[in-house]
């Protein structure tokens, strides 16, 4: 199929598809007039029922915890796929020399590392209270390590994130989520049932087993992103060392 024919076929199909999509959106309630009850019910219920002031987190880790587990499995499967594809026989690759960077960049980077680390921990810890949670905080935490590479050196980054430990953390995060769900099942409750005391809304301990799932997700996401960074950075060293054609 030539390029021209393919674009023509796509043009016809896309025009039909666009018409369908536009027709479909006209059936949605006007912007700003959403009438779905589920979300509104949860908005009213989450604070009293689960002592969780952030309804989004209550949905992600409690009311729809099973869906989040599915999402974590996608995360886990993709990261495992990347590791399987890229983690070839790459032993004894000489690490590329870090280019000399300006002292200003280095100084700012070093100053930012503790700040970003604290921010990440704070975002994960307060997931049930203010905007944030394991997913967002996990990404910020992984950025801390990326900052070490950007402002420091690859050598320091590799030393800070030994692959076996990162793999273990990834497994602990995803596994912790599943085990928390299974514990509820073992004592005769539904899977992922929130069985710990809910505490008082606004406190770090509030939400029952929600903070456990939250931290498990934080670990899983941090480790997943660290794994991705490591694999791509190793690949980069490999290419720079000229091992590929």
């Amino acid at each position: 199929m030539t390029r021209r024919i393919r674009l023509t076929v796509f043009g016809v199909a896309a025009a039909g598809f666009a018409a369908l999509l536009i027709w479909g959106t006209l059936g949605i309630p006007d912007f700003g007039h959403y009438r779905g009850r589920y979300g509104q019910i949860l908005n009213h219920a989450a604070v009293n029922e689960r002592q969780t002031t952030n309804t989004v987190t209550a949905i992600v880790f409690d009311y729809r915890g099973l869906d989040t587990m599915g999402e974590e499995f996608i995360l886990f499967a993709s990261v495992t796929g990347v590791a399987l594809l890229l983690r070839e026989q790459r032993k004894d690759v000489p690490r590329p020399r870090d280019e000399v960077r300006s002292e200003a960049v280095r100084a700012i980077g070093i100053c930012l590392v503790p700040a970003v680390l604290t921010l990440g921990l704070w975002v994960v810890a307060h997931g049930a209270i203010t905007p944030g949670g394991g997913f967002q905080g996990g990404v910020i935490l992984s950025a801390t390590f990326l900052l070490v590479w950007l402002a420091g050196s690859l050598r320091t980054y590799v030393r800070l994130t030994p692959t076996p430990y990162v793999d273990l953390t990834e497994g602990t995060g995803v596994g912790g989520f599943v085990v928390t769900g299974l514990i509820a099942l073992l004592i005769g409750m539904p899977f992922l049932h929130n069985l710990l005391p809910y505490g008082l809304a606004g406190k770090l301990s509030s939400g029952g087993s929600l903070p456990i799932l939250n931290w498990a997700t934080g670990l899983a996401v941090t480790a997943a992103f660290l794994l991705l960074y490591s694999e791509f950075l190793e690949e980069r060293s490999f290419v720079i060392a000229g091992k590929h054609k």
């Binding site: 700003g32 959403y34 908005n43 952030n54 309804t55 949905i59 995360l75 990261v79 594809l85 791509f232």
Partner: protein, 114 residues
């Protein structure tokens, strides 16, 4: 104009799809896929918007205050993180494709090359 956000989502989706179809580079293709995917975020968030509603976080506002829908926000939030890792998986496939076939152009790949 109350349909504008939905139409924006349709437009982003189609632009991304167009990019995928006429792509000459795997990395460009993955970026186009991310664009297509982000249209779902726009659609979800704009569907759940309630006029005059606050964020669905009741730390400083009284529970029961009019707020936007939290369910679509939860969907979007997990989707964003997961989509990044899927993009990484596709990019690593692109790297392998480059090593094996020596090209980043989908059109230069022969079908079922052993």
């Amino acid at each position: 104009m109350s349909y504008l956000p939905y139409l924006l989502a349709v437009w982003i989706f189609l632009v991304g799809l167009f990019g995928i179809v006429r792509s000459r580079n795997f990395i460009h293709l993955v970026v186009c896929l991310s664009v297509t995917q982000s249209s779902t975020y726009v659609l979800l968030l704009s569907i759940g918007y309630v006029k005059g509603g606050t964020a669905p976080i009741f730390k400083d506002v009284k529970p029961g205050t009019k707020a936007v829908d939290p369910v679509v926000q939860a969907l979007t939030l997990t989707d964003i993180v997961v989509s990044v890792t899927v993009a990484a998986l596709l990019l690593s496939l692109a790297i392998l494709g480059k090593h094996r076939a020596g090209t980043m152009d989908p059109e230069e790949l022969h079908p079922m090359q052993g």
